[in-house]
């Protein structure tokens, strides 16, 4: 209930707050009786609405991706942004648009997923996943290394094309500012379909979080379950990158909160994680727009500011149960 209320408030703030403030009553009128000749109505519909949709899609996707990743790796520090999956998607897009000489939404849509898939598979393998035993430190460091490598490559490619600072920033730290130019509808559908698949697969993935031996004992086909989880992480992260660029730390922060609300039930956790992810992302974006107004703090920077301390807090608590 609280989550749902907060999500609605976050949506309303995203639509209402900005250089041209729009009150709740006015907002209601925009939704019920849209007037195309009113500039306030136009601002909301053409600028803030795409932004809201992008925030909902990316936030929900990353919240769920983080949840699946933490269940898959049994690592509370797992996050698609920190482990390089988002950076892999971004790298693939930047490389592809350099080679093909264009950067339209078709290219973005076609390239985010293979990039995310390769990065997710590599980091899982490098972190020791193939031995069925993913150490938290090893995975986190392997992910940090992958992320550093891919971000360096993205930076090199973007600087190579001598693009503007804005393009550089978008592909290094995500933003919701260019939401209008992003494939919102397609990615929204992809996320919805993947979320459904996630709910179906949730019980299988849940056994993974008990550890390899236990999962096998329960009759789970380990490889299949892992492949399914990696597929979910890949598609969700790819979709998020396509609409908002690489955003780190959101997938780290959401699962612990979701778990508090739902307890250990992955299916419920995924639903709540999607809502919390969208809520946090929208709040972060709104705060980012207000903080240095009229300049705007990209939402990826805001999530990093919030997520850094969370990372430290979780890392401090790691011991005992988490092997190395």
């Amino acid at each position: 209930m609280v989550v749902a209320t907060l999500l609605v408030v976050a949506c309303a703030l995203t639509l209402g707050v900005g250089a041209r403030g729009v009150g709740p009553a006015e907002l209601w009128r925009i939704l019920t009786a849209f007037d195309p000749s009113d500039p306030a109505h136009l601002t909301v519909a053409s600028i803030r609405l795409p932004r809201l949709v992008a925030g909902l899609v990316a936030g929900a996707a990353l919240g769920m991706a983080g949840t699946v990743m933490q269940a898959l790796t049994r690592n509370p520090l797992a996050d698609p942004g920190l482990l390089g999956v988002s950076a892999g998607a971004a790298f693939s897009v930047v490389l592809g648009s350099l080679l093909l000489g264009r950067a339209d939404t078709g290219i973005v849509t076609a390239l985010v997923f293979p990039g995310a898939a390769i990065a997710a598979g590599m980091v899982f393998a490098l972190g020791g996943g193939l031995r069925g035993d993913v150490g938290a430190v090893r995975l986190t460091l392997a992910g940090a290394a992958m992320n550093a490598l891919l971000i360096s490559l993205v930076a090199a490619l973007v600087l190579l094309r001598s693009e503007s600072l804005e393009v550089y920033r978008f592909w290094v730290t995500g933003s919701l500012a260019q939401a209008g130019q992003r494939p919102l509808l397609a990615m929204g559908l992809v996320v919805a379909a993947t979320a459904f698949l996630g709910l179906v697969l949730a019980p299988v993935i849940e056994t993974l979080s008990l550890g390899a031996a236990m999962a096998r004992g329960l009759g789970t086909r380990l490889m299949r379950a892992q492949a399914g989880a990696l597929f979910l992480v890949t598609v969700l992260t790819g979709a998020a990158v396509a609409v908002a660029g690489p955003i780190a730390f959101l997938g780290l922060m959401v699962p612990p909160l979701a778990r508090r609300i739902t307890g250990h039930n992955l299916r419920a956790e995924l639903v709540v994680a999607a809502a919390i992810g969208a809520t946090i992302l929208l709040f972060a974006d709104t705060i980012g727009r207000l903080l240095l107004a009229p300049a705007e703090v990209r939402v990826g920077v805001m999530t990093a500011l919030m997520g850094g301390p969370v990372f430290i807090w979780i890392a401090r608590g790691l011991k005992g149960g988490w092997r190395a």
């Binding site: 520090l77 920190l82 490098l126 020791g128 150490g135 938290a136 430190v137 090893r138 986190t140 460091l141 392997a142 940090a144 290394a145 992958m146 550093a148 490598l149 971000i151 360096s152 490559l153 930076a155 090199a156 600087l159 190579l160 001598s162 600072l165 550089y168 730290t173 730390f249 240095l292 300049a295 705007e296 703090v297 990209r298 920077v301 990093a304 500011l305 997520g307 850094g308 301390p309 990372f311 430290i312 890392a315 401090r316 790691l318 011991k319 190395a324």
Partner: protein
């Protein structure tokens, strides 16, 4: 001299010559040699004005980072320890960015040292549990988090800068050696020399510490004091490098193992020297590739060390994994 030592020296010298000779304008080593002594001809401009200060700065930055990494790896007995992974470099970078955006015009090395020390203090405060010894791996993970936070704050502060400064600051933050002057090169060398002299006085304690803490204490070393002195030294060495070139990643991580592997150095002093030389060679070569690999495009050196260093870290992790260290 062992063959490995020769190989390392050749690598460093060849790297320096190549870095001076190769670029948008090619200059032959003979021209460089003539330019060095006569200050005339095509070599002189390249050597004395364009590439010279940059290469000289790169040598010092690499050597300082190499020393810092070698110290930390030896103190923590872990090849994954380095000032960038532990958050000291991002902390130093944050201090300089913060000073820029708040208009505080203190000298960069002072700011970097303050930021690096602050990051180290935060790290120790966060991992300190009375009565428990903190595992190195926890230290590295929390340090990574401190680094993430410092980097996030830096990118936040950059957004508050005017657009003209923002681009420059962004490049600096990924580690850049572009457009160095002799004054800047002189500054980092002078600082490096002072720090190296102080480090030389600490080599004995490092040697004793490596025998094990009990034995070191038995031989009259004040272990705690020596340890903090050495950590402080590692932070200051890294900070001096960051002040000159921004938080260049991964050099500190790679230098000591590369130096030790090439030279087979055993004593602490020899290992430190090897790490400094290896760090300098990595930095000079990485900057050369970043600058000259693609004609007309100058990448920041940090981008190149990221591309080089991340695979190294992955390889090192898989090694540690096989040995059961992780």
């Amino acid at each position: 001299m062992r063959s490995g030592t020769i190989a390392l020296s050749v690598m460093l010298i060849a790297g320096i010559v190549a870095a001076l000779a190769i670029g948008d304008v090619m200059v032959s080593p003979a021209d460089l040699w003539r330019g060095l002594w006569t200050r005339e001809g095509p070599g002189a401009l390249t050597l004395w004005v364009i590439r010279g200060p940059r290469v000289v700065t790169a040598i010092a930055v690499g050597a300082l980072l190499g020393l810092s990494g070698a110290l930390l790896q030896s103190l923590l007995r872990n090849p994954l320890a380095s000032p960038d992974l532990l958050g000291f470099n991002p902390g130093a970078g944050l201090a300089i960015i913060a000073a820029t955006s708040f208009g505080i015009a203190w000298p960069a090395p002072l700011l970097a040292a303050g930021g690096g020390i602050a990051a180290a203090v935060v790290l120790v405060a966060l991992t300190w549990r009375p009565g428990h010894s903190t595992s190195t791996l926890t230290l590295i993970l929390v340090g990574l988090g401190v680094g993430f936070t410092a980097a996030a704050l830096s990118s936040f502060l950059i957004l508050a800068l005017p657009a003209s400064q923002a681009l420059e600051a962004q490049r600096w933050l990924s580690g850049s050696l572009a457009a160095r002057s002799w004054a800047q090169a002189g500054q980092v060398w002078a600082l490096g020399a002072v720090l190296a002299v102080i480090l030389a006085t600490q080599v004995r304690s490092l040697k004793l510490m490596e025998l094990g803490e009990d034995l070191a204490a038995g031989l009259g070393l004040r272990v705690e004091r020596a340890r903090w002195g050495l950590v402080m030294m590692a932070v200051l060495l890294a900070a001096a490098a960051v002040a000159a070139a921004g938080p260049v990643p991964f050099i500190a991580l790679m230098a000591a193992p590369l130096g030790a592997a090439l030279t087979g150095a055993r004593t602490p002093a020899a290992r430190l020297l090897a790490a400094a030389a290896a760090g300098a060679a990595i930095c000079v070569l990485a900057d050369l590739v970043a600058r000259a690999a693609i004609p007309g495009v100058q990448l920041p050196v940090g981008v190149m060390t990221g591309i080089l260093g991340a695979p190294y870290l992955l390889w090192r992790l898989s090694r540690e994994m096989e040995r059961g260290g992780l």
